[in-house]
Symmetry: C2
Subunit: 204 residues, 2 copies
Amino acid sequence: MSNKIITIGREFGSGGREFGRKLAELLGFAYYDREIISEIVKRTSLSEQYVQNIAEHKPVISFPIHTGRTFLTWSVMPDYGQSVHSEQHNIIREAASKSNCVIVGRGADYILRDENPFRIFIYSSMESKLQRCKLNQSRDYDKGQELSDKEMVKRIEQINKSRADYYEFYTGQKWGDKSNYDICINTSFITPEKIAEAVKLLVC
Amino acid sequence: MSNKIITIGREFGSGGREFGRKLAELLGFAYYDREIISEIVKRTSLSEQYVQNIAEHKPVISFPIHTGRTFLTWSVMPDYGQSVHSEQHNIIREAASKSNCVIVGRGADYILRDENPFRIFIYSSMESKLQRCKLNQSRDYDKGQELSDKEMVKRIEQINKSRADYYEFYTGQKWGDKSNYDICINTSFITPEKIAEAVKLLVC
């Protein structure tokens, strides 16, 4: 495979998806994010919400076993979970073999590690994540339905914990650890447009 | 102060200084690295090697005190060490107030935190650090004087441990932790020239 592949890991609330879209547009590359979930839904005839839920969470049932000084974890994965995960893996590999592309999330940096993807991680301060989420919320919800700042921070932390767990479960690597990426960008003070232009220079 | 200030933290062996020089050239900004040491030498009439040594190491003598559940560290700093550190601090602030500039190392990101510097951290894999150091060594030393790979890796680790200790001692922050930087760049597969061009876009 000699396609140019860009993978984007991202903290929830840091604008990673927005940046990924802009970058793909700017480069004229294919863009995969929720498209991967839709494709699994087509192929497996499971519901979108169910797939979304499974595709972004590590298996829930696990038994820590204490043997001497070492902790082992033996996990049980529901059948559907296993097939969703394996389908996701296949779709990511197919996408990467088809054309130059930008793939957001789903441990694509690890799945495609033999193809030397350009690996980006997008993060920001909690204050910045909160502001971005509040802005999105005010667009999507009516007054009264909105979460308080405290509830929103809790939600951001929960989603990011879940992403970290998922990534670490499937890759054995630490999510967001800079040694696993070519570049880590803090979106607290830089716009997605500027970052996309700078990254374009790095990958071209 | 409204000068543009760029600070660069860097792992030893990752090409941070080379990148810093290129970036300063490209932007037409002043560049400070060893210049800070030379300025301290001028002002204090201490020897260059002595200042270099003190300016890059945290104080050596420290007594951990165990009080209940908390560990406190009480440190004794030699008089010269204190004046070198405080002189370094003054020079960095003076440099930042004079003109747009790039400052490499010396915890400048923290010292200048109220001036909103653009904070960069440069790192790379150990394999890449080793190759870069061997290349520099083969330029600077005769055959026979060179370190083995194993000795070189140990030296790289020691210097980076010392930088981490210094940074953490004076800032209370974790050296290389991405939350303290605007961008972290892995130089294992990207050239300093490309990175400098990309960063120019981000800061202009």
